[in-house]
Symmetry: C3
Subunit: 470 residues, 3 copies
């Protein structure tokens, strides 16, 4: 891994980008949105298992690339619903190694190479010849106390790590972390999805869980809202500053109390229609915005991903296997009811995420450049990449302004990829800023301030983390 | 402000871009579309007022950025509908200065900095410390005869300035300018919007005004068309070469005479429906094209902006406060009836503008690369920026060809930003051309010709200004 | 034509790009999709005619640019339906030459200049002064044996050339080529369009032709499918490895046997509705996928072009005169039935083409990055350009991975432009790879492998041509 990787080959830009990047390396990592499992940290004895457990099985980016190139999920050791399929992890790793060329010039390839190099000190390029010895090297390290989740948390210099948790989750691991002597700052995020999408397979059971943890008998919509608010308060007591929600579209519609209660009653009886589910989601976006404007939790909204697009594969292996596909998104008309009602509130913060880059200049930057409550999330999922980040900065900042963005989210399940992902963002931010400087758009003082802001300043402000350090 | 600003850091490109740019600086400014108030020039004693009157209050780009970052419009001195809110302009300016970092790397920031530096000779960077003295410096200059609108018009070397005026406007200021001894070439543009959008709040009163200025009793659709034609002729007698229209979509539909007259009669009685308004707009696009193909006025069409998206703010402060948001646009199917009927006429010229950049390669360049009547306007509004202009040139020219574009429009209300906006366009054009030259796509002779064309040649041809100079 | 044309001006990138490009020049051309007329090769005595026959009349890119700039198709010598319009080809050529500036910085301009220089050794820049002598020079060469189609086929080092042929075509020219002593490898491609689009003007007559060549009485849908399969087998016997289909949208719907047969019966009686035609196309996409998964022919699908948009011009001059305009396309929802049913089959290969670049990162790369059966075609039509290719590589590879793309297709009717088009692709590929190398994303070994793959490796794999050479 070259020390100047990802910087422009133009010598002046490269030199200044390096300087900006070096300054940012001293700053901690703030990870305000992601999917790391908190149980890795609640148990002091937890480990990452073997190299396949760490790098392959749980990483839907890795799985999808191998699957797309003709390798079956069984061969990667993924469990089928019906029966388990024991497979030697070393064989999986060797299959992975001999196909590592498939990851050339992809963000997964860069994260994997960076993690292997920076976290585990692997010097060789992964391929069919080196796979075996790299496996041994990794396993030896994973067995050592320097490579436990808690040890790496400190080594990675993580100031804050936010997980994503269902609103009905009792947050036992978070409570255990808080009550332990370990000082890592890990907070939950209130995720609405399975409690709001009436057509979600586990909606009914999640409502039962919600009733239990909130101690509220959810017999109608009003009680449901009350239960949600109770849980938001509980999440906040464990450090949460944000909620999260994902939907197919940004469609918002405020229903009357009687309309929404009727829908809710049908849902309780398992009788709701697809139209009910769509309207309920549309209405609940208004309720989430209202709750956020009242309790100050940041509202994150991830729009436009079609989950489990490949139904036959989903039926065999379940979700999160790389079969989620983006959709075109419309914000200007769809989100207007919410923005008109809450977008001017200074106590409300909404952060939008999309995979439809055509909305960057057309809708998102203009909206964020006007409504005080609105900020833009960093490039999401497939666009969290070398070119994706560069496009984002070039497309969004001119119209929204840097200070209507919210820094970087790694959004990862893979704890060991966190430094690699923030590193990519910081290198590309440094390179982008250096480009502005050498085209005389900003001066040197601006450049350093913008580097700090892109590294952690914007994130602190966007997620109300100003008081949590730095 | 660096003399080589906005050029590539690559030394060869920078050197040749500078050479091309320097040649273009000798050329006059032609401003064929914008929103400068003609009363600034009809009265020889007119001035720009104070720095806030000039740079903040009327500039919706500035207002939106400050508002989006939590600064109220009251604090910026914007008048509420209900009551005026007298505020010390110096305090507004200091608030602006202390928040000028919000404009980093935005086009507004570049225009403001360039205007302060190039027009008013301000050498300091605007911030909380310098705001006070810059205010004094600006005010002193604004009080002097060298900084009146008429003096700056000459200093800016403006060959032609087109304003935008309702078709019902008596054009008194334009008449006064024409009949004065002052030689500045300022022409009106025939704007259809408030006369065509049946749901426009002032449509009915505008029709009354139209009847008065045209001396035609507008009792039916036929008389309405006749009145419009009369006004087009009058606008042309004052130098107008173009009309302008803006709509939510590019939808065109030719209605029968009876259908359209029925809709018109309902509108006269304040009884038209939203569907009526939509169909009327769709039909009137055909009528505008027909009129243009007959009288030779260029038809400008700005598609896809949702005006006054933030209704609560609109109700307090009115339009043009930064709350207009773009929409996705479809041209291929929507515009087909118009293009099939008039797109092959050599006497018809249609210039299209959009904020939906996804249409550049997909629809606009292919359409302009085929229909003789069609040209593409420059990047509009939020895309009139460093990256927006570069994207436009890279995306549009390959498919449409340079000679199916129409040069640059500053489209501004801010007279003092005109040189800054043309300067940005010319610098980026020079940089783009130099890039083509060093990748050996064009030769040096081509490069110089293209620089002239992008500076003024294309504009002259697109707006029928060939005979007006140069 | 500069030897380093199209490479970055950055010296390191340019040097390495040149090295990569030089290595690729030794590789043959594989042209797996295009529209060259096979009769040029079946008759040993065939020639290209005069320079206008070769470069202007059949090239819809050239025609559209000249027409869009006010030159009539009559003046270019295009035949009207009603009567022929004899025109001196030299006059057409001079008109073309004096307007060659219209092609500045367009892909057509680059292809034309490259073809004139590389194939015909023209050293002068084409313009009004040089047009006459260039015409003479070209005509002299076109009359010589070194410039016959067969001679140039060898000179161009073409390993394989695929044409596009209606499924009802008896392929007489292909049979003649196969049975001749000439060794050029030219294969047909099975094109479904006129056999599937029930509203195609020649559908009924094509079905009659299909019945004759397949010797099957097409009295119902089942016989129709049987006839198509018979023809696929015949095409394969002449070397075809792929089919092709083009539709307005990617909409797929599996109809019941009775539904589709009823539609088919109405079509046979000339009684089908536009909805019938749309559903039939949607259903036939499923049938094509099934056939491909069974017989292993690659399924190419070109989505979203509105043919003959300019109806008045089409009525005068027919199709393929530059009046085809792209449409926005949706893949995620529309293509799902097909991908769910066949996308996991390892024997099925689908290659998608679109003109809607907004789908590159949003839909196409994610889909190809998941479904094993899916690959992405190269930038199509208007996007087969310097910037279009660069955008494609930057937008698609990160999400799909290089090995889910299918190399380059020239897709041309103009045989003499084939080397120019592959040359542009290879130069830009080299430049792109060199950029990755100097940002330390890939190493030197990767770079050389990727250059080979982009030149011919990916094409061989995508079109099942592994056994045909190299």
């Amino acid at each position: 891994m070259h020390t100047d990787r990802f910087f422009s080959p133009e010598p002046n830009i490269r030199k200044f980008a390096r300087e900006l990047y070096q300054a940012s390396r001293k700053l901690p990592i703030i990870s305000p949105h992601g999917h790391v499992d908190p149980s890795l940290f609640s148990d002091p004895a937890a480990t990452f298992g073997n190299p396949v457990d760490l790098f392959i099985t749980p990483d839907h980016y890795v799985i999808r690339t191998l699957y797309a190139n003709g390798i079956s999920l069984q061969a990667l050791g993924l469990p089928l619903f019906e029966h388990t399929n024991p497979i030697d992890p070393r064989q999986v790793w060797k299959l992975f190694g001999s196909n590592f060329h498939l990851f050339r010039a992809t963000p997964s390839g860069l994260w994997l190479s960076t993690s292997l190099h920076d976290v585990f000190g692997i010097q060789q390029k992964l391929n069919d010849e080196t796979a075996d010895s790299i496996y041994d090297d990794l396993q030896e390290k994973l067995n050592s106390p320097e490579f436990t989740p808690r040890a790496l948390f400190k080594k990675f210099n993580i100031e804050l790590l936010a997980t994503t948790d269902s609103g009905a989750d009792p947050l036992l691991h978070h409570q255990a972390i808080r009550s332990s002597e370990w000082s890592g700052n890990i907070v939950p995020t209130f995720r609405f999805d399975s409690l709001v999408h009436l057509n979600h397979p586990s909606w009914r059971s999640q409502i039962d869980d919600l009733a239990i943890v909130s101690k509220i008998d959810i017999i109608n919509f009003s009680k449901y809202l009350q239960a949600l608010q109770t849980r938001r308060d509980f999440f906040r007591s464990l450090g949460a500053t944000a909620s999260d929600f994902s939907a197919l579209s940004a469609y918002v519609e405020e229903c009357s109390t009687s309309q929404v209660d009727e829908i809710f009653q049908r849902a309780l009886k398992n009788q709701c229609t697809p139209q009910d589910a769509e309207r309920f989601t549309a209405h609940m976006l208004m309720e989430m915005a209202r709750m956020s404007s009242e309790d100050g939790m940041v509202m994150q909204f991830h729009v436009g991903i079609f989950r489990n697009h490949n139904q036959p594969l989903y039926q065999q292996f379940g979700p999160d296997i790389g079969g989620d596909i983006p959709l075109a998104v419309e914000f200007t008309r769809n989100l207007r009811p919410l923005l008109q009602k809450f977008g001017n509130h200074l106590n409300f913060k909404l952060i939008l995420f999309t995979l439809d880059e055509s909305t960057y200049t057309r809708e998102l930057a203009p909206l964020a450049g006007h409504y005080p409550a609105l900020k833009l999330g960093p490039p999401w999922w497939f666009n969290d990449s070398l070119n994706g980040i560069t496009r984002y900065l070039d497309l969004v900042i001119e119209g929204a302004g840097l200070y209507k963005t919210s820094g970087f989210n790694d959004d990862t399940r893979g704890f060991c990829s966190i430094p690699a992902r923030h590193d990519l963002w910081r290198r590309l931010s440094a390179n982008w800023i250096a480009g502005l400087f050498f085209r005389h758009i900003i001066d040197e003082k601006d450049a350093h301030q913008m580097m700090y802001d892109l590294s952690i300043g914007l994130t602190r402000r966007a997620y109300h983390l100003e008081d949590q350090g730095g």
